[in-house]
Symmetry: C2
Subunit: 223 residues, 2 copies
């Protein structure tokens, strides 16, 4: 699976969040990091989309929308021949959104300061995926990055890597296996990690056993 | 009441809809028609907003969003000092959206081809008004303008004029009075309209009488 991360930010160099995500993405195989810059070479942009299986648009939230440069990419690139007829060139791809917000997570709810959820804010992207028959991935919103603790940043680092490069997106087992595979490749360059990885594998096997037992017990209950 | 109509369209000259709306707006007093062109003179744009009581943003829907030029206006203009601190420079103004769509009205519903309502598509604008304490007007969506019958276009002409210039927005009585006032001013230049206007006034008085009688009858029922 090949992923295209399309970054739309008018002042990319000033964004510590985007720099952080860029480092995280650089460690993932089969991920193309693509920073939008005007003017667009439309044919080339359309080819990029066609060459990837998961398309991630990534931008800061300005007045509950994407910045102009991100929208200009849709205005100019998401046209014929990419969107010809029945959208067969887009159909079946995955489409995700990584959005950064200066407001806190709990402001995005009915009765909260922002008055609606992030899913409502991103409805236009969900609709874009829907009409082109792409699979819409649950969005990855990043709230107040600069206030995150070090631990929260580390968690985000892994979550983000999984979001862009884990083929089994959204499945817990998928995330676990993806993480172990990532650790495997790290061990080749950092042998100190080998015992940690062994421990994790043991834990995972134990967890899988427990999960299986629970499943059997539930089946007995149902009978 | 002064209205600012901010038109964001990348190829304005090619849009018959926008030309139609421009003619309609040109007949209304106290309406400033403002076509966005890059680059923006930010201080001047901010002053324009401050000088008006009703701000209408008007644009075609591209992938369920506004075109880049409209978003760039928000990105660059809706900043300090216009949005300083507690938004007192925006608070209390009215904020409306006139959006044109190539798809049909009945596609914008759950289960319809677009899968969500126009209000859901425009949620970012409602949230923008909300957080700045502006009054959000019900949006005026225009679906498939080029397929409208002549009569439907005439109705749209009046509806649009009311949307941008009727101070009593959204009230039926307000619309009626506004229409009669507009006809009054037309009669001075087109005397042939006088009998039509007289008839309309008679009808309105009769309607008001009937409405009053219905109200009394209901009150009696309630007793």
């Amino acid at each position: 699976m090949k992923t295209l991360v399309v970054v739309g930010h008018p002042r990319l160099g000033e964004s510590t969040t985007q720099q952080f995500l860029k480092v995280a993405a650089s460690e993932c195989a089969n991920v193309t990091w693509h920073e939008l810059q005007l003017p667009f070479e439309v044919t080339q942009e359309q080819a990029l989309i066609q060459q990837h299986d998961r398309i991630i648009v990534q931008f800061p939230l300005y007045w509950y929308s994407a910045p102009a440069i991100m929208r200009q990419w849709f205005d100019e690139v998401w046209r014929m021949p990419l969107t010809t007829g029945n959208y067969r060139l887009l159909r079946g791809k995955q489409f995700g959104v990584v959005v950064t917000a200066g407001a806190a997570r709990n402001e995005f709810q009915a009765g909260g300061k922002q008055g609606a959820t992030m899913d409502e804010v991103l409805r236009p992207y969900q609709m874009t995926a829907r009409v082109t028959e792409m699979e819409y991935l649950p969005a990855l919103p990043i709230y107040q990055f600069n206030y995150l603790s070090e631990q929260a940043k580390q968690e985000l680092y892994i979550t983000y890597q999984s979001y862009i490069s884990n083929p089994e997106h959204g499945h817990f087992a998928g995330l676990e296996q993806w993480l172990l595979a990532r650790l495997d490749s790290l061990v080749t360059t950092m042998p100190d990690l080998a015992p940690v990885l062994a421990q994790l594998r043991d834990n995972q096997e134990e967890l899988t056993d427990i999960a299986q037992q629970v499943k059997w017990m539930r089946q007995e209950d149902d009978e």
